[in-house]
Assembly symmetry: C2
Homo-oligomer: 356 residues x 2
């Protein structure tokens, strides 16, 4: 398949799903066991991924539908997850809006030109931006064909606030002080920027769904840097807009890391599910969301380095605590590169062999 890189295969009608556990969990339908997938499941812990990584740079992997498809399918084939998530990056959106993004392997992303004020915001591409992401839609269509109905395919995007972080700060940060300062000191420009990203993201996610994504996840990786009040102002309201615009077309999972304080508000966005980090206990998360929504998570990724017997025990305990219904087993954040494949597989297998 890799030989075909660059040419997009003709799109065939999608097969009905053989494993629709994820969609059932998202719709709150009865399941015999919860579905399982892992954030960053197509990634550096897989030798098969490292092989592709050694041959093609990051954006070649992302922009070549055949490569993105091969990577997306790896965890389904190798560790047997109940869903695939399209291999891509949240920063393709700032890129499509006209900002340069460099991906330095091992060092994270760098944006050489950052947003510093309203003038920069006004120069961004908005209405046309989602047309520049055709390679993502092509990858999704190709993935759906290759999956041939085995498991659902998840599309995704970064939340407006999380994308603003990189667009203003220009690189990763522990605290994103520059991005927060921008919001406090230039509220008009920051809201204009957040609104522009929101507009692009809505069009982008709708196109992903049209191309075949069965559901989508919104990553608010840096939402937890705000207090509750500022989270409402600078992140939540834009998440609400996106969920509202997209939810009729496919279920939306909202993963807002560290945002335990606004779980009640996130539950009311119309999202089908909320992703949780491991700092929430199942009991607290169920209470804060009034047991009204599907929850996803929240195993500490580092715990996948424990002995496999302990991983099995933890998974059993986690399912018991969250409950089988309205629950999607996942990590609380992305899988880390040092996890042995066997441990990742154990995590998935433990869910599949779960017994009440």
């Amino acid at each position: 398949m890799l030989e075909a890189a660059g040419k997009t295969r003709p799109i065939k009608k999608n097969q009905p799903l053989q494993n629709d556990l994820l969609l059932k969990a998202l719709q709150g339908e009865h399941v015999d066991r919860p579905p399982v997938w892992m954030m960053r499941q197509a990634g550096r812990y897989l030798p098969e991924y490292m092989k592709i990584k050694s041959k093609y740079d990051f954006f070649t992997r992302v922009q070549t539908p055949e490569l993105a498809t091969a990577i997306t399918l790896q965890p389904v084939d190798i560790i047997g997850t109940d869903a695939a998530i399209i291999f891509s990056d949240i920063l393709v959106v700032p890129q499509a809006m006209g900002l340069e993004v460099e991906m330095n392997e091992g060092k994270g992303p760098v944006l050489p030109f950052t947003i510093q004020g309203m003038k920069d915001v006004e120069q961004l591409i908005v209405e046309e931006a989602h047309f520049h992401l055709q390679y993502v839609y092509d990858a999704i269509s190709l993935c759906k064909q290759e999956l041939n109905g085995r498991v659902p395919l998840i599309g995704f995007a970064g939340s407006p606030w999380t994308l603003l972080c990189y667009m203003v700060e220009g690189k990763g940060s522990k605290t994103f002080d520059k991005a927060k300062t921008f919001c406090f000191q230039q509220p008009e420009a920051s809201h204009a920027l957040l609104q522009s990203i929101t507009t692009v993201t809505i069009a982008y996610l709708k196109e992903q769904i049209r191309a075949g994504a069965d559901c989508v996840q919104l990553f608010d990786s840096w939402g937890g840097l705000w207090d509750k009040e500022d989270f409402a102002v600078f992140s939540l309201q834009y998440i609400e807009q996106i969920v509202d615009a997209v939810k009729e077309e496919a279920p939306v999972i909202v993963y807002a890391k560290g945002v335990w304080h606004s779980l009640p508000e996130l539950q009311q966005t119309g999202a089908a599910a909320l992703g949780l980090d491991w700092c929430n206990t199942p009991q607290t998360a169920r209470a804060l969301t009034q047991n009204k929504i599907t929850l996803q998570g929240n195993y500490d990724p580092v715990k996948l380095l424990q002995p496999v017997a302990k991983i099995k025990e933890d998974v059993q305990q986690m399912i018991n605590a969250f409950g089988v219904q309205r629950y999607i087993v996942n990590l609380g954040h992305g899988i880390i590169p040092s996890v042995p494949v066997e441990h990742a597989r154990t995590f998935v297998e433990a869910v599949k062999s779960w017994k009440a």
Copy 2:
């Protein structure tokens, strides 16, 4: 005073405190307004500090009582805080235990030799370690003399888990995966290490109090990386030991960043106060601690970059929300270097001029 660097002044009997607001708040006594101080208040936002910094390297500043005293007193003189906190670093403890610590200005600490297993733990200095920190006790005594009873002096130490992070990882990290992995994969060695740090820290804090510290703060900067269950195992139980051993000699403030989920358990440690980051609302924090303990915090440090009128308004609102009694106004984390001195002063002044 700086000329005397290297020689410790003779210790005189301490003056009674003219401003004992902090101690009253810690003891739950009635106050007319809450006390205010700021984490990392003696730091890079002060031109007077930068002047000393340009002449002496980090450990010279820390190890020379006259320099540490000059730096400690700056925020009291310049912005008028209700307490001084001794200028030092949490990593002096690993240093006293025999590990080399390099402080690279702007890049953070590096420990060239890290703890990798039980054998390394066994080679650490434990019983004698606190004797190597005489320069801290001398700085505290000198500070108390120079303060001459104006405001109380706070001593401090890092929590055992937070120190383990650096001793195992060897440098700062967003997630301290290596340190967490060490705890999961070598529980025996990790608990031996945590216990050794605990033993040293108890002796160290007692000596700080003997030298004149009016109260002490324990910084668990990385407690928030654990889930509730693991926090109890790898951090809380050691914090409990320390508080229990020290609380009869001076009030203890426990600041565990990101550890909202264990506020009820932290409230029961016997600490006089709990420090909060800004992700807690006053209402939630009061509810989680059953309104039984003094709370300290929790202004987002980035908000000090807002216009001064907004800072004043925020402080007023924060005091109203936490309540005047059993409350210490502070930031939710350390002050950032880009804050104008005038804004820091506004924060302090707003507390002093607070009106119900």
